[in-house]
Symmetry: C2
Subunit: 348 residues, 2 copies
Amino acid sequence: MEKALQTLIKDYQDLNSSTIAEIDYTPSPLEFSRFVGQNRPLVIRGQGQREQTPALEKWSNAYLVEKVQEKVAIAVSPEGNADSIVNDEIFVEPATVELSMQDFLSKLDRPQPSPPLSNPTADPVYYLQSQNGNLGGEYEALLRDVGAEGPSFAREVFAQDPDACNLWIGDQRSVTSLHKDPYENIYLVIRGSKTFTLLPPAEFYCLHEQIYPHATYNFTPPSTFSITSTTPSLTLPWIPVDPHSPDLARYPRFAHARPIELTLQKGDMLYLPALWFHRVAQDVGDSPASAQGVEGEKQRATIAVNWWYDMDMSSPLWSFCSFLRKATLALDGRVEDEEAAEGSVGSP
Amino acid sequence: MEKALQTLIKDYQDLNSSTIAEIDYTPSPLEFSRFVGQNRPLVIRGQGQREQTPALEKWSNAYLVEKVQEKVAIAVSPEGNADSIVNDEIFVEPATVELSMQDFLSKLDRPQPSPPLSNPTADPVYYLQSQNGNLGGEYEALLRDVGAEGPSFAREVFAQDPDACNLWIGDQRSVTSLHKDPYENIYLVIRGSKTFTLLPPAEFYCLHEQIYPHATYNFTPPSTFSITSTTPSLTLPWIPVDPHSPDLARYPRFAHARPIELTLQKGDMLYLPALWFHRVAQDVGDSPASAQGVEGEKQRATIAVNWWYDMDMSSPLWSFCSFLRKATLALDGRVEDEEAAEGSVGSP
């Protein structure tokens, strides 16, 4: 079975490009449908400008502060590691704080440590990442600037309105760890840049998914964090390997993976197919948005939105991916049903 | 693993209809692309008439005889069992005879035995089934009556011309045994009716694929057949179970299958997605074509054409189906690579 899993990966890699297709025009629904049918990502450069998305011009810090008057829920973690494995042993959710938009953005405005992802000054890292359809909720005042519907080529192919539209605001210290979503996904970068590391569903074997206890950061300002295990105890499967800098001694199966990296700039769109594994990093510094500045103020923030469309679970992909996961777990002596009975909260 | 294979089948069945979608209008390319992306069949009733396919009106026996002057290669078998497992132990190809179109059609004109599929009179069963793109070859004079290109909605979605266009002429004694093709397939019935029994790729486990020795029928007119094993010896994997009347004692895994049957009449089209397993039976008797008669002559023949388009092997489906096959073979202690080394001629 291990050989069959490795052959699956090799077959898929041999039959597919090691890069992601890029276009710089609006795809017809029929053209876009091929990427959806193939479950292959697509980068559409400059699509935000072609769609004349108002957010691209409007979303200065001052505008965001003006439009969002209520306090908002912001994730905070010691190193930008919200929702990831800590110390190779525990999955930790970020703490959540309530901040005004002004206070939140000012925390992103500080000089950033270099290199990215380290945090020598021990400043807490704040990330607006509520991913609960927040643009239809607490940020509804901003929704008209990006549109609730998503691009028309996507709506036509998915034959439905988006299930959720999310706003993401952070800086280069925040990284979203490798995971997948059961949604067809369209991303649009509004300010800064986003760097995705992508792996297709066929490479699940490479990811060393394991069961971890679930916990949450507690945050005491200005910069003290502790980890509290969830009670009653809860476990969940998660992926420990960082595809950007994999520890192959610890995660040898990752040697079979072929991660694909791509960076979106302001106005670029990404179709991320359902069930693709993705790690997302970001940068505030070198993007056209930051270089342009808006209204002369400091604009050190990465802003993106995404639209989630329900995936088609009747496609063979869904059933086959479930099967692939079971086959891989069996290799490790794990049985999915037993885990579920123990109070697991679902796969990454 | 056995449980995982059964769960895959149950997942797929739970998430998909137990019937095949039917429409009675020309689908837009975008609508059709959804079926292709989902790898789900689609019946398009009366599409031949909407496409104004000349063959529907023109292809009387007299016309076929006039257009096809050269002798043609016809498969002949004792019971209509071309390319199938005989006596549960050997895969047998039909014999091939060269006949004029007139002689061939006259052999289909005889009174048919009842019930279908039995052959008490021991008449040999003839079937024009060369499936080598024959409408671009020996039947080129007929090609313009159906068109080499296939329907435009299919060409647009597959973004290519068909790889082959085939002509099939037979009677109700011929059955094509369960197999799959690595092609996207569009069928059109010209005369009589065709009954398909379909199983999705996810149900491979149910089919008891086994390795069989390869042989060919020898035919001595008027009605003597013998079986000659191929030398040097050749084996191939094939499916022994007849989904129309499965022997569950012998093939217990078939109890997990959910075969879907559908019948196409004159002018009906079927999109059969790549890698779907299909058994094909046919009838000459009750179809509108036969009832109408053409030029008053006896018209006891089932005629169909199909267009094969190369499948997209970069889709995850291809790699996942190969993996599913390996996982199923492993359950039976079989290893695909070893079989290939022994001189196998490919999967069904």
